[in-house]
């Protein structure tokens, strides 16, 4: 159950106002959202065999990670459960596409392997980018940025509540699990016969709790439609526009010139 506690902690971690304080905090959340969306679009648009091109996109993740002091390795291991389903995405390619494209030493590299890796890379990069965004601007900052982009208040509220519901649900699972295992010592996990009532009770209790959370938000003036300033008040217009233009420019460049190939052949020229 400690793993559940870790997950709850991680979700809470994100549900806060921007966690950056340096120059980064002067970048408007909207700029971050736009750049992140640009990153996702570019990443997804790479051709299935263009692993090298895709890898060049990691520049964004590295620079953001270093600049904003996000522990990249720790994030990777924290997100690893999300990567599992992504692995399966590429599996079919591995089986059906067996044309050998080139040899790495004596190991044949098939199109399937390449496209499976590319797909996996796209998945991992997207998850990382989304996670970075959330860490940098927080769930609330994200919601405000979405409102500014013209997403309707109702939709944004649903997003926010789904997020909060997830936290409530995990906490409730943890609570009920503890109560259950205390009364059924010796059992590992929950007896199969008890699953139905456990799930039913869980649903009812977590929905009650989620309603309370929503009410608590309403009582404290949340109306889901107005754009309120949080840490945005610290943001600078100039730096935000510059940030957006530079990154979008970099993405465009990486997408249109095969950077890694160029570097490779350039290095190759010396060898």
């Amino acid at each position: 159950m400690d793993r559940l506690q870790t997950a709850i902690a991680a979700l809470h971690e994100v549900d806060r106002e921007s966690s950056t304080y340096g120059v980064g905090s002067r970048v408007h959340p909207l700029a971050r959202l736009i750049v992140c969306m640009g990153f996702l679009l570019t990443t997804v648009s790479f051709a299935p065999y263009d692993l090298a091109g895709l890898l060049s996109m990691s520049i964004y993740l590295f620079i953001t990670g270093i600049w904003e002091e996000i522990p990249i390795r720790k994030s990777l291991s924290g997100l690893r459960y999300l990567f599992v389903p992504v692995c399966f995405l590429g599996l079919a390619n591995l089986i059906y596409d067996k044309d050998v494209i080139y040899y790495l030493g004596s190991v044949p590299i098939t199109g399937g392997m390449l496209s499976a890796f590319t797909l996996f890379g796209k998945g991992v990069f997207s998850i990382m980018a989304a996670f970075f965004l959330l860490r940098l601007i927080g769930m609330q900052g994200l919601c405000r940025a979405l409102l500014r982009l013209g997403i309707p208040g109702g939709t944004v509220t649903v997003l926010l509540l789904t997020w909060r519901y997830l936290i409530v649900l995990l906490k409730e699972i943890r609570r009920m699990w503890q109560a259950y295992t205390l009364r059924a010592p010796g059992h590992r996990g929950i007896h199969t016969g008890a699953w139905g009532s456990f799930a039913g009770l869980l649903l009812l209790r977590s929905m009650d709790r989620a309603a309370d959370v929503y009410h608590s938000m309403l009582l404290r003036g949340y109306d889901g439609t107005s754009i309120r300033e949080g840490t945005e008040s610290r943001a600078g217009t100039g730096i935000s526009i510059l940030y957006t233009i530079i990154w979008l420019g970099v993405f465009l460049l990486l997408r249109s010139i095969p950077l890694f190939h160029l570097v490779g052949s350039w290095l190759g020229g010396f060898m």
């Binding site: 709850i8 902690a9 809470h12 971690e13 994100v14 549900d15 806060r16 106002e17 909060r164 936290i167 906490k171 709790r209 309370d212 959370v213 009410h215 608590s216 938000m217 309403l218 009582l219 404290r220 003036g221 949340y222 109306d223 107005s226 309120r228 300033e229 949080g230 008040s233």
Partner: protein, 256 residues
């Protein structure tokens, strides 16, 4: 001019008032029946009754969480209805029974700042309000603490602070001492006594009521059974046991 007359009216009026208040959830059986009472500015009133008596329901109606009641319910001179909700929610704050429901952000500071930020205050004013609220419940030191790492007692105080930062004129506490150990409970009693403004404390912890409220309302199955001085009601063993409650422990010790 208009504000002047508004103030004058309010001075002579109770802070919280209900008249023939009747409520049922989704057309089911009546949970509150024909409830009439007033609470005046600065009073601390206990709301007692056994489980299911309707205490939480009453408090939630007063802060506008349960629309569709019959009769009247007023807070700060305003009828509890949709068009006044925003004003009413700055006048009266509700502290949930379960602090976990009330606290949904990561740190104490963030959560206490949530209300003031929603009301569009600038960060300087938000900061002032947060610090003031934390001081009122004596948890300034916990400002940057992660909420999920705090004890039940600390969470309760933080939950109260989230309401205080809205600077309400009245504060409604729902079973505030539930699930607290004796030490935290004593601390909570001290905090409640120090809180400014009008207070309603709903609880079946009668010792808590005895220590904090001068006046008590006894609810039984949604009806107002008795309204009077706390000492008088809480010493009436027959009345209490008829409504599923027991004499406060401290009074039992006193009489034996």
């Amino acid at each position: 001019m208009e504000r002047e007359t508004e103030n004058n009216k309010m001075a002579g009026r109770p802070e919280i008032r209900t008249e023939h208040l009747t409520f049922s959830y989704d057309g089911g059986k009546e949970v509150l029946s024909d409830l009439s009472f007033s609470v005046f500015r600065g009073e601390c009133v206990g709301l007692i009754g056994e489980n299911g008596a309707g205490k939480s329901t009453l408090l939630k109606i007063l802060v506008g969480l349960l629309p569709g009641y019959q009769g009247r319910a007023e807070v700060g001179g305003l009828q509890v209805e949709k068009k006044y909700l925003r004003q009413i929610r700055t006048k009266a704050g509700y502290v949930f029974q379960d602090s976990e429901s009330q606290l949904f952000l990561s740190t104490v500071y963030e959560d206490v700042a949530f209300g003031p930020r929603n009301y569009g205050l600038d960060e300087k004013e938000v900061d002032r309000r947060v610090m003031e609220a934390l001081e009122q419940v004596h948890i300034e030191a916990l400002k940057d603490r992660q909420i999920y790492r705090m004890s039940g007692g600390q969470k309760k105080l933080a939950a109260i602070a989230t309401v205080l930062s809205m600077r309400p004129e009245a504060i409604l506490l729902d079973e505030p001492s539930g699930a607290l150990d004796p030490g935290n409970r004593r601390n909570l009693i001290r905090v409640i006594r120090e809180l400014p403004g009008t207070k309603i404390v709903a609880s079946h912890d009668l010792d808590l009521i005895l220590d904090t409220c001068e006046r008590t309302l006894l609810l039984g199955e949604g009806r107002l059974i008795k309204d009077g001085p706390t000492e008088e009601i809480l010493t009436d063993e027959k009345l209490l046991s008829a409504h599923g409650l027991e004499l406060p422990l401290s009074l039992i010790h006193r009489s034996r």
